[in-house]
């Protein structure tokens, strides 16, 4: 029975592109290209909404939970940090207080929440190192454990993280990845320790908590603590979006009360909370070999990359991402390359997963599609999104 629990949350807000696509003037400067690409007014609107309903109350909640013996590992995309710096520095200060707590550990994530690891592995490794430096500057702690965008993991990604200097990484504990293994142990692959996310117990809170059709509804803290304690193995590793608290599940679902009751219930059952780094140290000598293949797993959807590349619109957009990134690289202009990195943000693929599909995954995808875009219609969204990339690629021409 698992005696240890590690909880990880990743906080992220996308930098949404501007739809309908804004024409980019010929010969535009990188700064003017940028203002055509991104809908900062919309980004600010969504950021402020999530800050009000999630980031502020959830962070206050975690501060209390940590004081009461829980531990939290926390990842931030620089995408979110840039938004906090621009629109709400007080929120960043609140997060800095949270990270400064001795029971909070900082985790490195891909800075722009991009799919760079599928496009340019060496640069991905460099960006992860740079992210550590920036996070250390901002929070005073240096991450030693890495998460990747959407918790993507494969043999090449694993090697890259190890070479970038990380002690451990994460992956989603799906059966197709772990096969006969349990997710409740520490693993290693090629010298990098790996924490498998317990996807069922994680999703009980992350996805199902407010689902009235779910047999487990309503989920109470004693029940959940019981399930955690009953899990067979060394430790349970739970991972959620930070936005689970107050955004994915609104306050009136009872998610905050549920969490507030958790420390006592865990304590009653003798569960010890660790940070992810603490868990890695705790089980360092008891990790097991985990073979990883070239196909990446993810915590999104059914656990494979088909969530992001499973329909024709996503495949077309990914080709445009490749073209945008590589052409930007040809220019040798760091500012243009930076714009391309924003454009390969995974969210741009996530939010069109619904195209030609139905069911719960499509509903999740559609939930993340800005409601303002639906006036364009489904085909209009796909077309205009592609136009953003086509415009960008054309705008690079004078620089190549």
């Amino acid at each position: 029975m698992a005696e240890y629990l590690a909880i990880y949350c990743v906080a992220h807000q996308p930098r949404r592109v501007k739809l309908p696509a804004q024409p980019i003037p010929r010969g535009a400067s990188p700064e003017d290209i940028e203002r055509c690409l991104f809908d900062e007014r919309m980004n600010e609107r969504y950021f402020r909404k999530v800050a009000q309903w999630c980031y502020y109350p959830a962070t206050e909640m975690w501060l209390r939970l940590l004081d009461r013996g829980m531990s939290l590992s926390l990842g931030f995309s620089l995408s979110l940090i840039r938004q906090m710096q621009r629109w709400d520095p007080a929120l960043l200060q609140l997060f800095q207080r949270l990270v400064a707590h001795p029971r909070c550990e900082l985790v490195a994530v891909e800075p722009y929440h991009s799919f760079l690891m599928f496009i340019d592995l060496p640069y991905f490794g460099q960006r992860m190192r740079e992210a550590c430096e920036e996070l250390e500057r901002l929070f005073g702690k240096r991450p030693v454990v890495a998460d990747t965008t959407e918790m993507a993991m494969s043999d090449p990604i694993c090697d890259t993280l190890r070479r970038a200097g990380f002690r451990a990484g994460m992956l989603d504990g799906r059966p197709w990845v772990l096969e006969w293994r349990e997710s409740t142990h520490l693993y290693h692959h090629g010298g990098l320790k790996l924490l498998p996310r317990h996807f069922e117990l994680s999703d009980d809170v992350g996805y199902r908590f407010s689902n009235r059709q779910w047999p487990g509804y309503p989920l109470m803290a004693p029940t959940y603590a019981h399930w955690l304690r009953e899990a067979w193995g060394d430790l349970v590793f739970l991972a959620w979006d930070y936005e689970t608290f107050g955004e994915h599940h609104s306050r009136d679902t009872g998610i905050f009360e549920f969490m507030e009751h958790l420390p006592d219930e865990l304590q009653k059952r003798g569960i010890t909370c660790l940070t992810v780094g603490g868990a890695v140290e705790q089980f360092w000598d008891r990790s097991y070999e985990l073979p990883l293949g070239p196909f990446a797993s993810t915590w999104a959807g059914s656990g494979g990359m088909e969530f992001f590349l499973g329909n024709s619109a996503q495949q077309a957009l990914f080709q445009l991402m490749l073209a945008a990134y590589n052409k930007a690289k040809l220019t040798g202009d760091p500012k243009l390359l930076d714009l391309a990195l924003w454009l390969i943000q995974s969210d741009n693929l996530h939010l069109i997963q619904w195209y030609g599909r139905a069911g719960s995954e499509a509903e999740v995808s559609a939930y993340f599609t800005p409601q303002e875009w639906w006036a364009l219609g489904p085909h209009g969204i796909i077309w205009e999104q592609q136009c953003v990339y086509r415009n960008f690629i054309a705008a690079l021409e004078p620089y190549v």
């Binding site: 024409p23 010929r26 010969g27 003017d32 055509c36």
Partner: protein, 433 residues
């Protein structure tokens, strides 16, 4: 109060005019630039605080106040225009997007809300298809901001350009539609809308005679010739080829015509000049010295007097234009489709003999104040010119009557017409105190 709102005065109302074209040379492509420049100037001169939002010269200040601060110019899209030095319509799609995207927010927070807070009614006049979408968004912004009832929104069509891009249902729901002539009103009936007619105007200064010395010099230089003048975009609607063909026939018949023309950058110009050359007319391109005064402009044209067609390739000053109207035996504003015909009215104000088309020129009465050309047959122009040369008293009458007619179309008259309609429109749009 009876009529819904108080009489509209500078103390209780302000105007906002939105247009692609505007007063900067960069922003002038046709009659629209002239229209909004003169209209806003006249409004501000009458005492109304007037904002003009237009696609301005990127090198000039983003905001500029004129007429003791009553006229406020907002040069929009400058960050885009700097990439398109050719002029207002270059990079049109990018500018249009930016206008739609950025103006409503600015308009609401920086113009409308402070004005309403100061107790003023906001009257917005948006010009042409480019502003149809942004006007809808402005209406939405005013509505969500709780001040839609303090604004009258007007949208004016000066032409039929890109009518297919306008969402007429939405536009006519949020605003009152205007147009500049009965002809345009009839055209727009076909779209299921019924605009009110408010004509274009001419500035008061056009009634000051151009410098007689300049007129005399031009006439003297072309003595013994038939001096004709035409200005406008090289657009088939302007019936340039009809005019050139008429000149060729006049030459064939020994009338010794000299045709001073100022077209645009449009490709149809190649066809027009090709036709002229093909008909044996000698064409000479002329560049007028910029900003050197009307005398130098006249000089440059006279220097090309051996040519049959003197093709001006550069900007022409207003003074030069008025000199040509007055000096020419005829100004050919013979459009086949003319929503209003501002060139015709300007030429009439300058005392010119003006050949106009038979569409939007509501002001024209043939052989009374102008010559109305009703077909696309060049022979019609030739015939009327021979008639006028045989009847100098008709010419005198036409010149005198033209000025009288034009006087009824000053911008102040136009504003009076507009203000007269606003009380009705205020009630329709639910405006109240």
């Amino acid at each position: 109060m009876p009529g819904g709102i108080a009489d509209i005065q500078p103390t209780n109302a302000m105007f906002v005019v939105i247009s692609f074209e505007g007063p900067d040379r960069y922003s002038r492509a046709g009659g629209l630039g002239e229209r909004v420049t003169e209209l806003t100037d006249a409004l501000a001169t009458q005492g109304f605080t007037t904002h003009l939002i237009f696609v301005g010269d990127p090198a000039l200040p983003g905001r500029e106040e004129r007429l003791d601060g009553r006229l406020i110019l907002h040069r929009w899209c400058q960050w885009i225009s700097k990439y398109y030095p050719e002029g207002v319509y270059a990079g049109e799609d990018a500018k249009l997007y930016d206008l739609n995207d950025s103006l409503p927010h600015y308009f609401f927070h920086e113009i409308a809300r402070p004005a309403v807070a100061a107790g003023k009614l906001v009257i917005v006049l948006a010009e042409e298809w480019h502003t149809a979408e942004v006007l809808c968004r402005i209406s939405d912004a005013l509505y969500y901001g709780g001040i839609r009832h303090r604004a009258i929104l007007l949208w004016n069509a000066n032409n039929v350009f890109s009518f297919h891009r306008v969402n007429w249902g939405r536009l006519s729901f949020v605003s009152a539609l205007l147009t500049v002539s009965k002809y345009m009103k009839h055209v727009m009936w076909g779209l299921g809308v019924n605009p009110l007619v408010v004509p274009n105007g001419v500035p008061e200064r056009f009634f000051e005679p151009p410098d007689p010395a300049g007129v005399a010099r031009l006439r003297q230089a072309f003595e013994g010739n038939l001096l004709l003048f035409k200005i406008g975009r090289f657009d088939p609607d302007k019936r340039w080829i009809m005019a050139v063909e008429a000149v060729a026939r006049l030459k064939e018949r020994g009338a010794r015509p000299k045709f001073i023309i100022r077209g645009g950058i449009e490709p149809h110009g190649g066809e027009v000049l090709g036709h002229a050359r093909g008909r044996g007319l000698r064409v000479q391109d002329v560049w007028l010295p910029d900003g050197a005064g009307v005398d130098r402009e006249i000089e440059a044209v006279i220097a090309a007097q051996e040519a049959d067609v003197i093709n001006i390739k550069s900007f022409v000053s207003e003074e030069f234009k008025r000199t040509c109207y007055a000096a020419a035996d005829a100004t050919l504003a013979n459009s086949g489709h003319e929503p209003f015909g501002i060139v015709g009215l300007e030429a009439m104000a300058s005392g010119g003999v003006t050949f106009v088309g038979a569409t939007g020129e509501d002001y024209a009465i043939s052989f009374e104040n102008s010559i109305v050309v009703e077909t696309d047959d060049p022979e019609e122009i030739v015939g009327y010119i021979y008639f006028l040369s045989d009847h100098p008293r008709v010419v005198e009458r036409v010149r005198a009557s033209a000025r009288e007619t034009a006087r009824r179309f000053t911008w102040n008259d136009v504003i009076e017409n507009l203000l007269g309609k606003l009380r009705y429109l205020a009630v329709v749009q639910g405006v109240h105190a």
